[in-house]
């Protein structure tokens, strides 16, 4: 009895093993097929992503085969080092914000941005609006290459004065009347040399002190006349004599 039952158990176990083998081969085949298909579709991902340390969308904003501006930059320079980093000083409004921002969901919560990727673009002192402003007060959350007015309309960076005028209406009118800001060219029809954001950093609008040009030459100190009291006494005496003479005549 015992031997038979043992036999039965053995047979069952053998059958089980056979089944498991079939299953694992099928699973392995499926995984292999998936892997192969992935490799053939996106073979560049591991290589370039590893080299640059960035996600795919940075170089391929509209899907893998097509290169975006960052991809072109990489193709040309062999590195992403320096791309998207603006020259020192004023952050310049450009058309490159969407390269990164197209892939993020807008987050309206004020927070520390120092850990944001490609961070130098956002490193500045923010001192405008008395703590009530956040990036999206002025920047368009949908399209970062533009600005947004309070009424929801989208304007390019070049038309920033319109945005500023929402709060600084009086100054905007003065600017229009040519009595604020610098206007150059013909007196009859002057042109704005600069717009609001060229003089006032929108993130920190107050004018910063600058170094003055050198002062005018001081006139040389007058030389002391030697024997001044003696001369003055002689002149005084002579004029007195003259006066006496004139009176006497």
């Amino acid at each position: 009895m015992e031997a038979r039952s043992d036999n039965l158990i053995l047979q069952k176990a053998l059958q089980e093993i056979e089944r498991m083998k079939e299953v694992s081969i099928a699973k392995g085949l499926v995984i292999l097929v998936i892997l192969l298909s992935m490799l053939s579709v996106a073979h560049a991902k591991p290589e370039y992503a590893e080299k640059t340390g960035e996600s795919c969308v940075v170089c391929h904003p509209n899907g893998p085969p097509e290169l975006g501006p960052a991809g072109e930059y990489y193709k040309e320079h062999g590195t992403l080092e320096g791309y998207g980093e603006l020259p020192a000083g004023e952050p310049e409004p450009g058309g490159r914000c969407n390269v990164c921002h197209a892939q993020f969901k807008p987050n309206p919560t004020p927070r520390d941005l120092s850990a944001a990727p490609r961070e130098p673009n956002h490193r500045f002192e923010f001192n405008h609006g008395g703590g009530k402003f956040w990036c999206l007060t002025c920047h368009n959350p949908v399209n970062r290459d533009t600005l947004r007015l309070f009424n929801g309309s989208e304007i390019p960076f070049e038309e920033a004065p319109l945005l500023c005028s929402q709060c600084h209406g009086v100054i905007y009118q003065e600017w229009k009347d040519h009595i604020h800001g610098r206007w150059v060219g013909s007196i009859e029809s002057p042109e704005p040399d600069v717009i609001c954001t060229d003089c006032h950093n929108p993130h920190d609008p107050e004018f910063k002190p600058i170094k003055p040009e050198k002062p005018p030459e001081k006139p040389p100190a007058s030389k002391e006349i030697p024997n001044y009291p003696v001369y003055s006494f002689i002149v005084l005496a002579l004029s007195l004599l003259l006066a006496v003479y004139a009176a006497w005549r």
Binding site: H178, R182, P212
Partner: protein, 325 residues
């Protein structure tokens, strides 16, 4: 009758003298070192167009010889219906002196010579640094006069510093008042000139005919704004720093012994361009325009801002306004 014929004779004699001079035009008179042509040159207001052309040709040759530049000297007349006015925002001015040096580059003032100490720097704009008024609270109840404390207010233009040189401007508790020629409607400097070498043009600019100035410097003494400068020596001007676009009454290169002053950049404004100082100001504190045009920049300032003029009590009626936001 007698008088008239005499005047006629004198006129003819004078004309004859000028005509007689032409063949000997380049003969130099020894002691005063000027050519005969220059010596007999007419007053600018009496020159005919031909005279002007001749004078300009002479000046061009002179500058070519002396400074090695090809100057373009204009005699653009004033426009009808234009009186220039200036407005300066003292609340915006930061005292950076950019205007002073833009003016020097534009108007060919003498630079400081590194070798010859007698050739010194001339600047038409002087920027005064003025302390903001202070109100110190006094002790209450001690005396009704000290209740409001010591009040230092008002500005004494004679006592302010224009040699200031801090690391950065503007400084706290200071404001800055640039002063240049105020182009008065009733200019005391014109009144005192013994040779009528300085006069008010129809567009309101006070100009100097440098060839008629005898260097008596009465006008320097008469000007209440310290706006005029005297050339104690021939100017020192390196060739590359000369502005070749000149006007006869404006920025043409001056000579020793004559007085010069701000002309609202006559060579630019008569061509419809802003003065150099307006375009140089980094804070846009300087405004310029036609006082007779209600749409001009200056008229807009006069309409909308609080405006004052310097030393108004003297009755000189400057066309240079200072304003605040």
């Amino acid at each position: 009758m007698v008088d008239e014929s005499r005047r006629d004779f004198l006129k003819k004699a004078a004309a004859g003298a000028t005509a007689a001079v032409i063949p000997f035009a380049n003969v130099r008179i020894p002691v005063i070192d000027v050519t005969l042509e220059e010596f007999f040159q007419k007053h600018y207001k009496e020159m005919s167009d031909d005279d002007k052309k001749r004078v300009i040709e002479r000046l061009k040759k002179e500058y070519k010889e002396k400074y090695g530049i090809d100057a373009e000297i204009k005699t653009t007349p004033p426009k009808e219906g234009v009186v220039w006015g200036y407005a300066l925002n003292i609340q915006k001015c930061i005292g950076c002196r950019r205007c002073v040096y833009a003016c020097m580059r534009e108007n060919n003032q003498s630079r400081a010579s590194p070798k010859d100490p007698t050739k010194s720097e001339i600047q038409w704009i002087r920027v005064l640094e003025i302390e903001k008024f202070k109100i110190h609270p006094g002790e209450e109840g001690k005396d009704f006069r000290t209740r409001f404390g010591e009040i230092i207010a008002g500005v004494n233009l004679e006592e302010n510093e224009h040699y200031y040189n801090p690391e950065h401007v503007p400084e706290e508790d200071k404001f800055y008042v640039p002063i240049q020629c105020q182009q008065c409607e009733r200019p005391p400097c014109v009144k005192v000139c013994p040779t009528k070498a300085t006069w008010k043009e129809p567009d309101g600019i006070i100009v100097v005919d440098y060839n008629w100035c005898i260097g008596c410097r009465f006008c320097l003494a008469a000007c209440p704004y310290w706006a005029r400068r005297f050339n104690w020596s021939d100017p020192y001007l390196p060739k590359e720093e000369i502005n070749p676009k000149m006007h006869y009454l404006g920025n043409r290169i001056r000579m020793r012994g004559v007085v010069e002053k701000c002309t609202f950049c006559i060579q630019r404004t008569r061509e419809g361009r802003y003065p150099a100082c307006v375009e140089a100001c980094p804070v846009g504190a300087r405004k310029f325009g036609n006082l007779l045009d209600p749409e001009s920049d200056v008229r807009k300032v006069l309409e909308k801002k609080r405006v004052f003029r310097l030393k108004e009590e003297l009755g000189t009626q400057p066309k240079f306004f200072y304003f605040m936001d």
